[in-house]
């Protein structure tokens, strides 16, 4: 499997304050990678920094071997990176179909075949395609947000806490979709608060603590580790 996303010696933050320091992360094609850690560990900040939304002080980000460090967010979409923020991740006054069209904005024409593929992954969206996104439930919004991100046909999909605030049954559904997306060959990187679920389902995991890498490895192995279980998984 090729390395789709490689982050090395990455230091970033707000203003002059570094929130994450010398972080590294690799996500491979066709796999799901989860980032876990306590509150304030810098998990969401890492995704924002990779996506060019906050100041990067040092380090590099490469996608499919191309250096994209400090490339602006709108251009990163064309370079194969997509990002779904935790909150405010749909356009509420636009219909579901229009939200998806916006996801494909960088394409020359609205990609009809991409939309069909997204509707195949999320059939519930097709049923309500003309409905305004503002009327959707939290779980439905999450589906739409992932669908919108997939419209640009990214190599790497970054998801910031996609199950936050969802019921356990919706959390399962969202993870089912995350794994299905990874199986299409994309590298999916997920920041998750619900570490037990994430480690039991994802392929690989990184543990961030206080803005730095603490542990990494196959997700299942980290789930089995007693020290990690006691300190971070509430066992």
């Amino acid at each position: 499997m090729e390395r789709a996303l490689v982050v090395e010696n990455f230091t970033a933050g707000y203003g002059k304050n570094a929130i994450i320091r010398n972080v590294h992360l690799t996500a491979r094609e066709g796999t799901s990678t989860v980032i876990i850690g306590p509150n304030g560990a810098g998990k969401s900040t890492l995704l924002k920094a990779i996506f060019g939304l906050i100041t990067v002080f040092s380090g590099t980000v490469t996608i499919d071997g191309q250096d994209v460090t400090r490339v602006t967010a709108d251009r990163l979409v064309a370079r194969g990176l997509a990002y779904v923020p935790q909150n405010g991740n749909v356009f509420p006054s636009l219909s579901i179909r229009e939200n998806l069209e916006i996801g494909g904005y960088r394409q020359q024409h609205y990609p009809k075949d991409r939309m069909d593929q997204v509707f195949a992954i999320f059939p519930d969206l097709l049923k309500a395609a003309r409905r305004s996104a503002g009327t959707l439930s939290g779980g439905q919004r999450q589906m739409l947000a992932m669908g919108r991100a997939l419209m640009s046909d990214p190599s790497v999909l970054l998801l910031d806490e996609p199950t936050a605030g969802l019921s356990p049954s919706y959390t399962k559904i969202v993870w089912h979709h995350i794994l299905a997306i990874a199986q299409t060959g994309k590298a999916v990187v997920v920041v998750e608060q619900n570490a037990n679920t994430a480690l039991s389902l994802a392929d690989r995991a990184y543990l961030l603590v206080a803005g730095e890498n603490r542990e990494e490895g196959p997700a299942g192995e980290l789930l089995e580790r007693e020290d990690i279980g006691e300190m971070f998984l509430g066992r």
Binding site: N89, F91, S93, I102
Partner: protein
């Protein structure tokens, strides 16, 4: 209260509403995407009116050709206004209050600039007013029917743009969330520039039809009309073009019907009264809440 006078007022109201619809949609589109009120917007109307004056009286172009050309030139002025004056502040993420003060300052600067160039005296187009026509019991000059037709065509064009074009959908997306639009791959800076062009074009057209409608005008043309534009924009819900169209219709008709019964100099007071009442009781506008642009 005579019904025929009310009906006559409705006729005049349609013309005022047409002028108002062009300008209020232009202002609200820009607000929807950039999220701050441009107090210098009235000067786009004034600049449009004076550019058409130059083309019409100086180059002897037909008034409608002059109007269209003035609209395009005003669009360029608005685009430059954004790049030269506004962007240096938005790039530094200046607070909204700073942008408001900047646009108020630019309003005064531009109005005085026009006065320095053209003088304070009244100007008038070379514009034969044409015959008077009866339409559904209402009286209109040919010019006034042109004004209504131009406004209606512009509103259809704006609707088509927003609803069906890639650019329009990007504008609506930015109006919902500029950051999410950027994350989705929309070149937000470029779309903002298109919005300023469109806003300036509509402002320029509106200035010319306003000047035609009032017959003669001074450099205070736009700034005097600005609060009437605000009334229509607020009535329709700030940042919402369809609301601004409806707001323009209601304010325009209310102003002209009131002028049938009171001194016409009070009709602006009617617009202000509606503005204050809206802000007090329904600041989100008359349409149900559903996002902006």
């Amino acid at each position: 209260m005579s019904l025929s006078m009310v009906w006559l007022g409705v006729g005049f109201g349609l013309i005022t509403a047409s002028v108002l619809a062009l300008s209020s949609v232009g202002l609200t589109l820009q607000f929807g995407v950039t999220n701050f009120v441009n107090f210098a917007y009235g000067e786009f109307l004034t600049i449009g009116a004076y550019l058409a004056f130059v083309l019409n009286m100086g180059l002897h172009l037909n008034i409608w050709v002059s109007m269209f050309a003035a609209g395009i030139l005003t669009a360029v002025v608005a685009w430059l206004f954004n790049i030269i004056v506004i962007e240096p502040f938005t790039r530094r993420k200046a607070p909204m209050i700073i942008l408001l003060v900047v646009t108020i300052g630019m309003d005064l600067f531009l109005m005085n600039g026009v006065q320095a160039l053209f003088g304070p005296e009244f100007k008038q187009y070379n514009d034969p007013s044409g015959s008077i026509l009866h339409v559904g019991g209402l009286l209109f000059t040919v010019q006034q029917l042109w004004i209504i037709g131009i406004a209606a065509a512009a509103m259809v064009a704006v609707h088509t743009l927003l609803k069906y074009s890639k650019l329009g959908k990007a504008m609506r997306a930015m109006s919902d969330s500029s950051e999410l639009a950027l994350i989705s791959g929309i070149p937000t800076r470029r779309i903002t520039q298109y919005v300023w062009l469109l806003s300036g074009f509509l402002g320029g057209l509106s200035g010319v039809v306003l000047a035609i409608n009032v017959n003669n005008f001074t450099p205070a043309l736009g700034s005097e009309f600005l609060f009437v534009i605000f009334a229509a924009v607020i009535m329709g819900g700030i940042g919402r073009p369809y609301g601004a169209m409806l707001g323009a219709l209601i304010i325009g008709v209310a102003m002209e019907v009131s002028a049938m019964f009171f001194d016409s100099s009070y009709k602006t007071v009617v617009a202000f009264a509606i503005l204050v009442l809206m802000l007090l009781f329904r600041p989100q506008g008359i349409l149900p809440s559903r996002g902006r642009v």
